[in-house]
Amino acid sequence: MTYRVHVRVMPRTGLLDPQGQAVEHALSALGFAEAGAVRIGRAIQLDLAATSRSDAEARARQMCDKLLANPVTEDYLLEVEES
């Protein structure tokens, strides 16, 4: 089976996110004052061959821990879908 994995890697709460800050300012200058708490991270998408969804998820988690997310500064969130 092939699964498609979506990972959202976000700066850890409490850490400064200068990029999010700048975008929040820009949005409000553009008339989107109602937007707040902007945070910017990475979206990673990949296809994965695995025997089951839970297997796919476990592998994807390992990839995040080892490579895709920086455990010092980032948290991540996984979604797995059949493809």
């Binding site: 700066p11 850490l15 400064l16 200068p18 080892k66 490579l67 010092v72 500064t73």
Partner: protein, 768 residues
């Protein structure tokens, strides 16, 4: 001993919800019994938790220099060129025409070991602030880096992350990186070194010092909001890396170079317009050290209300606000009548400036939080009364025996093939992979960028320029700290002089292990003795610097690495001398004396797998004459190129000159005859020995007589070795002819590091 005056301090209350001050809490704050006793005596009562945090920060090694101060006092720090010696945010030297140069180096080793990208980036941010808070516009950055060997994935990851962090920050702020150094050795695995240096220009009349003055003046927090990051950074920098450091990870500081650029422009505008009394970076130990140190320098007290400090998160305690190391923040002192104008300037640069306190007349460092006094400490004693230690210094038996050892193994390859192997070693190979990631031409003043002996920049609107470099051969320091210390200063001075500039002064970043270990303290004391002697001999005073101790990891202490940052004056910048052969048909000359000393050499390390032996001794008088000769010859326009022989010896220096600059279409060969040069020296030592005080020159043959005359006048040995030309580096010596195709040398030299770093960005975890 200071502080026998009246003990006792006004009362302070615990902040609601704060932990009690227990012996365990004291230990966690890295304060020993002696120090805690001193605190009790000085306050005349038990400290509050907030106060304990304040003491812990200011009495950390990083802020108090408690193990190094007596040794640092031995440095020469004066001279007619010194405008500002050690003690301020940066040292300042006088230049012609009312100009002055501010410069400083700073370590960010431990943060970079945990998070290489942000650690390095914030290191650059901090050193930039140190320079522009003096009223100087930053015009150059340099960096001195050390990692474990590149065959280890974790080291590659650290190297890649650090270089990217250094680059991204400096590039965004718009300050060119003009030079630096990188070296790799096993001792740095687990404890890389990241030292950043900044050089700034100012009108001497604009110099501003970080001393709070004027009772009633207002303290303003300018720049970024205060978050929970980096709390305990200063004491973190003052302990060995261990498993426990891992637990401190969430305290990583994140840099925002964009805000830094705004802060830079706003600060310079505030200073040159005369709107403010004093300004200081909230660096290590944040608001605490900046306010306490400014008050102590001004001989006044301060009162801060942490409740007024703009924070990034809700519910921050005074303890957290005082000790936060959030980046891109400044503390500014202004008279009450100027506050509104200060705020207007900051607003123009999209920065906030918030009054958070005032200068007082009672000498107390007082902190309130919405009216509740949570800390009240006699300010001068807080800054001055940390106990000073005089650790035992004893060279280890092992270090002594390494010095008298000789290589046990035969060479891996013959003398001919050793050259390519040396050029392929990351320590000697071109660092183009590194400096290509650094903007080296922004500000449109770069006369000589990275890739030569020293960077050179012009001072716009004048005829003169500055040469800048940072150097240290840690292998020499490890084998013989005294000679190694001398050698580091001598190499820096030689690099500056090779461009034609006169060395003016230094800043130093002293990276060592745990000073409580006698062999480490021996290294420290002896290296400093060497540095002090060399600086005295060259008339290059120490204007400031940084001590980084506790550079140890589970695998042991690092090689002692006192990086020397130097600035030199090039009176006519268009006379700058590059490092590489310029054209065929020039004379090739060798300056200095060759004895063929291989102790501590790269040749022994790389080709015979041996680090040891007696290192070459630096003859400071001869070095000084050599520098004077170079400055005089360059000033008269007699030199086409000059390159010093350092790691790899004379042959590597010749090869580098022939290989050409990083973007030359091709190299320039040479045909050289060394039969009559140093006839008693064995060929191995002649080619690869690392005697100090030698430079490879090229010059128009028509200037040969003038150069010979000048060399005689300076009593510097000068040997005419041959001519540039052809596509080979050909060398006759000891009845042999050795020849290398220059193209064949270029490849390993430029490819050594990129080849090893192909996929390094993705290697964080591979080696964990």
């Amino acid at each position: 001993m200071t502080g026998s005056a009246v003990a006792g301090s006004p009362e302070a209350s615990a902040f609601p919800g704060e932990r009690p001050v227990t012996p365990e809490a004291v230990r966690e704050h890295n304060l020993n019994e002696l120090e805690y006793g001193r605190i009790l005596e000085l306050l005349g009562r038990a400290p509050t938790m907030t106060e304990l945090g304040v003491f812990s920060a200011l009495w950390s090694e990083h802020c108090s220099y408690k193990h190094s101060r007596p040794v640092l006092r031995t440095f020469p720090t004066t001279g007619p060129q010194v405008v500002q010696g050690p003690g301020e945010n940066a040292g300042v030297l006088r230049l012609p025409g009312g100009w002055a140069v501010a410069f400083k180096i700073e370590s960010h080793n431990h943060p970079s070991a945990v998070e290489p990208y942000q650690g390095a980036a914030t290191g650059v941010g901090g050193i930039l602030r140190d320079v522009f808070t003096m009223g100087a516009r930053p015009v150059a950055l340099l960096n001195s880096l050390r990692f474990g060997p590149l065959d280890h994935p974790r080291n590659r990851y650290l190297f890649a992350g650090v270089v990217r962090g250094v680059g991204d920050y400096g590039n965004c702020v718009g300050v060119p990186t003009l030079g630096g150094e990188v070296a790799f050795a096993p001792g740095y695995t687990g404890n890389p070194l990241v030292n950043a240096m900044c050089v700034g220009l100012l009108r001497e009349s604009d110099l501003i010092r970080a001393a709070a003055e004027g009772v009633g003046n207002v303290l303003l927090a300018v720049g970024a909001r205060t978050g929970r990051d980096g709390i305990h950074g200063a004491s973190f920098a003052s302990e060995e890396l261990s498993e426990k450091s891992e637990a401190r990870r969430p305290q990583v500081q994140v840099g925002d170079p964009f805000t830094e650029k705004l802060l830079l422009e706003a600060s310079l505008e505030l200073i040159t317009s005369g709107l403010i009394v004093a300004i200081q970076d909230m660096g290590a130990a944040g608001l605490t050290s900046s306010s306490a140190e400014m008050a102590a320098r001004g001989g006044v007290g301060v009162e801060i209300d942490t409740g007024l400090v703009p924070t990034r998160e809700e519910g921050m305690t005074p303890y957290e606000i005082l000790l936060s190391e959030s980046q891109e923040r400044m503390l500014v002192v202004a008279t009450p009548t100027r506050v509104a104008e200060v705020q207007r300037v900051c607003e123009k640069w999209e920065l906030s400036a918030t009054p958070i306190g005032r200068v007082t007349d009672d000498g107390i460092f007082r902190v309130k939080h919405h009216g509740l006094t949570v800390a009240a400490i006699p300010g001068q004693r807080l800054v001055d009364d940390c106990p000073i230690y005089h650790p035992e210094a004893r060279e280890s038996e092992e270090a002594r025996s390494r010095r008298s050892a000789v290589p046990p193994l035969p060479p891996k390859v013959d003398l001919q093939n050793a050259l390519e192997l040396l050029l392929d070693s990351p320590n000697i190979a071109s660092k183009r992979w590194v400096y290509e990631q650094y903007d080296s031409t922004v500000q449109a003043s770069t006369v000589l960028g990275p890739g030569g002996d020293a960077g050179v920049l012009r001072v716009p609107g004048t005829d003169f320029g500055l040469a800048v470099t940072v150097d240290c051969n840690a292998r020499l320091v490890a084998l013989d700290p005294y000679e190694g210390g001398k050698a580091a200063v001598a190499e820096a001075a030689r690099n500056v002089a090779c461009t034609g500039a006169r060395p003016l002064g230094i800043t130093d970043c002293l990276n060592f292990g745990n000073p409580e270990k006698p062999d480490v303290f021996f290294q420290f004391r002896e290296a400093c003795r060497g540095i002090a002697e060399a600086c005295a001999a060259f008339d290059t005073p120490v204007t400031g610097g940084n001590v980084s101790f506790y550079n140890e990891s589970p695998t042991g202490a690092i090689d002692p690495t006192p990086a020397i940052g130097m600035v030199g004056l090039l009176e006519r910048v268009e006379r700058r001398v590059p490092s590489h052969f310029a054209a065929p048909g020039d004379d090739v000359l060798i300056l200095g004396t060759t004895r063929g000393e291989l102790g501590g050499s790269a040749y022994w390390a790389e080709i015979r797998d041996f680090v040891g032996g007696r290192v070459p001794s630096v003859d400071l008088e001869a070095e000084r004459r050599l520098q004077e000769f170079l400055v005089a010859a360059a000033g008269r326009g007699l030199l086409r190129s000059a390159h010093d022989a350092a790691e790899g010896g004379l042959l590597v220096a010749l090869a580098e000159a022939a290989i050409g600059g990083p973007y030359a279409a091709s190299g320039v060969g040479a045909v050289l005859d060394l039969e009559r040069y140093a006839p008693r020296v064995a060929l191995e030592g002649l080619l690869y020995g690392e005697d100090a005080g030698r430079v490879v020159l090229s010059a128009d043959p028509a200037d040969g007589a003038a150069l010979a005359e000048l060399a005689r006048a300076h009593a510097v040995p000068l040997f005419r070795a041959g001519r540039t030309g052809g596509s080979a580096l050909e060398l006759r010596a000891a009845s042999r002819v050795l020849s290398w195709d220059v193209e064949a040398l270029r490849r390993p030299y430029f490819e050594a590091i990129p080849r090893r770093m192909q996929h390094a960005d993705a290697e964080r975890s591979a080696g964990e």
